[in-house]
């Protein structure tokens, strides 16, 4: 259990004080994947560093299993840190060490003897799926592989907590997916508590149980992923939810729509700039006996035009009628796709 109580963090700069965290209160349960989402500068990176005391809070308590770790002396804190793994956006591997030796580093630091180190590194390499790359140097690995090394390294001392600081932000979408799957898997297999800092809504959506939304150093909203997605309250949260809903995978969306609208046909109408100021839909509706209901739309207005996509459900006809209406739209130079 990680409990943050009334955390304040002020950075003093010549230009004035920066309030990175303002009265942050969070409690993260054992074994859950907890996401902290926010735009850059929201204070989330500072917050995660307060959990392992890489940054000392200006005031407040950091309780881990009831113990305030900000009160530990340097030696006890170092010992405590070996039980908290951390992975980073830019992996932060040692390029002078091989994969195997990078994973052994935290074990060396903890004073584990050589034969145990080798054994543990071997297990971890298997866990993260890097068999055969033991003797490669980081410069020979892809981004996804580097993050796998980062994860293996973070898990070396069997930590109870894994802190992820923008762990997927430097990766492409496919690799992000794989790394998230790996983290989810590790959470399930090892029961480790994962704290994920990210600015990517799809990341928290995919793997987090609960999330907190941060803005300007404050936690503005907190709850289960489902709640936050279904009832975003704060403007920042709404922005995140909106960002993701426009990104939803087309195929998946199409499948869902077909289930919701089993009758008639679904058409995706794509308007381009030249035509979207014309009253096309209303003209087509006047020419047809069919029913049209608007399912969803994403139209963007610029100063002199508007363009975008409209999805409609056409009902009450046979296949000939439907072909007819498609033709009618096409006469107006609308690109029509049947979903």
């Amino acid at each position: 259990m990680i409990e943050l109580k009334h955390i304040q963090k002020v950075f003093k700069t010549p230009k004035g004080d920066i309030h990175a965290c303002q009265d942050v209160n969070l409690s993260i349960r054992d074994g859950e994947i907890f996401g902290v989402i926010g735009y850059s500068g929201a204070g989330k990176s500072t917050l995660v560093r307060i959990i392992n005391q890489l940054e000392k809070q200006t005031s407040g308590e950091v309780l881990i299993d009831g113990e305030d770790i900000s009160l530990l002396d340097a030696k006890d804190l170092r010992k405590r840190r070996t039980k908290m793994g951390m992975i980073f956006q830019h992996f932060n591997l040692l390029w002078s060490r091989t994969v195997q030796k990078n994973i052994e580093l935290p074990l060396e630091i903890a004073g584990v003897d050589k034969s145990k180190r080798v054994q543990k590194a071997k297990e971890l390499i298997e866990l993260v799926g890097l068999q055969g790359r033991e003797n490669a140097y980081p410069s020979e690995l892809s981004g996804g592989q580097k993050q796998r090394v980062g994860i293996a390294r973070a898990l070396a001392n069997d930590p109870s907590i894994l802190l992820c600081d923008e762990a997927t932000s430097a990766l492409d979408p496919d690799t992000t997916e794989q790394i998230l799957d790996l983290l989810k898997d590790i959470n399930r297999k090892l029961g480790i508590t994962i704290v994920m800092i990210t600015h990517q809504m799809e990341v928290v959506q995919k793997i987090c149980h609960r999330i907190a939304v941060m803005s300007e150093g404050k936690v503005v909203e907190e709850g289960s992923v489902k709640d936050i997605f279904e009832h975003p309250r704060h403007p920042i949260t709404k922005r995140f939810v909106r960002d993701i809903s426009s990104k939803v995978d087309d195929d998946k969306q199409n499948e869902n729509l077909k289930q919701i609208y089993p009758d008639g046909i679904l058409l995706r109408l794509t308007f381009d700039e030249d035509i979207s100021r014309q009253p096309i839909v209303s003209r087509v509706m006047k020419q047809t006996q069919l029913d049209i209901s608007i399912v969803s739309g994403n139209l963007t207005n610029t100063i002199d035009s508007s363009f975008g996509v409209l999805i409609i459900n056409v009902l009450g006809g046979n296949s000939q009628d439907y072909e007819q209406i498609i033709k009618q739209f096409e006469e107006y130079h609308v690109i029509v796709e049947v979903i």
Binding site: N52, R81, L94, W95, R97, I109, P138
Partner: protein, 221 residues
């Protein structure tokens, strides 16, 4: 060609080469050790370093800058009393060492500091997050990560030391510089001058090649 070579006192030439090598190697080894320690202290006592110590950092920084600012040839004269006191002579290889070391150690300290500063801060942060102590960070992370830069700095310094020994040679330190000056310049014996220059170049090239080979081997970036 034979006439050219016969002008040269080969015994003196061999002795000179040995002296130059000896001065370069001894001062290089000592200066690297001193400079390395000094460089690491400079690095960790920095304001944003592992163990910030403003006063210590300022003082060391000043000393390093001071010794680097004094031209080598002037430093030799400034150090004459000191050299006499600790080496018992101001001539020959022994007499040259204090000045060689005191001018090159601060140089290497600065190079070390630059090499260490180039290590990604994220790597250091990662090792702190693993629970590493400052000593572990220095020995397991900083030094291995900076190794190629540290070695190439040794190469650069080795080469400039060869140059310094030649300069020291002019005022009685022995070595190829001394030979070139005494025989080549003072007695206008051009074959000696050219041959001495040739061997200085050989030494410089060998240092460069060895240095580059080592760096190439250890640099896994």
């Amino acid at each position: 060609m034979n006439e050219f070579l016969s002008e040269i006192d080969w015994d003196a030439m061999v002795v000179a080469i040995q002296e130059t090598l000896l001065m370069t190697i001894i001062s290089l080894v000592i200066a690297v050790i001193l400079g390395f320690i000094l460089g690491i202290i400079l690095y960790i006592t920095k304001e944003d370093g592992l163990y910030p110590q403003k006063v210590v950092h300022r003082i060391l920084d000043f000393i390093v800058n001071l010794f680097r600012a004094i031209p080598f040839i002037i430093l030799i004269f400034l150090l004459l009393q000191f050299t006499m006191a600790i080496m018992g002579t101001m001539l020959g290889v022994k007499g040259a060492l204090p000045a060689l070391i005191l001018s090159s150690a601060p140089f290497y300290a600065r190079m070390c500091m630059i090499a260490l500063s180039e290590i990604d801060k994220g790597t250091i942060e990662a090792s702190k997050a693993m629970g590493a102590s400052n000593w572990q960070i220095i020995t397991k992370v900083l030094i291995p990560e900076a190794k190629p830069a540290l070695v190439s700095s040794i190469t650069v310094m080795g080469i400039s030391l060869v140059g310094y020994t030649a300069m020291a040679g002019c005022i009685g330190a022995g070595g190829l510089g001394n030979l070139a000056y005494m025989y080549g310049y003072a007695r206008q014996n051009m074959p000696v001058m050219y041959t001495a220059t040739f061997f200085v170049l050989v030494i410089v090239f060998v240092i460069q090649i060895i240095g580059d080979l080592i760096v190439k081997r250890i640099d896994k970036r």
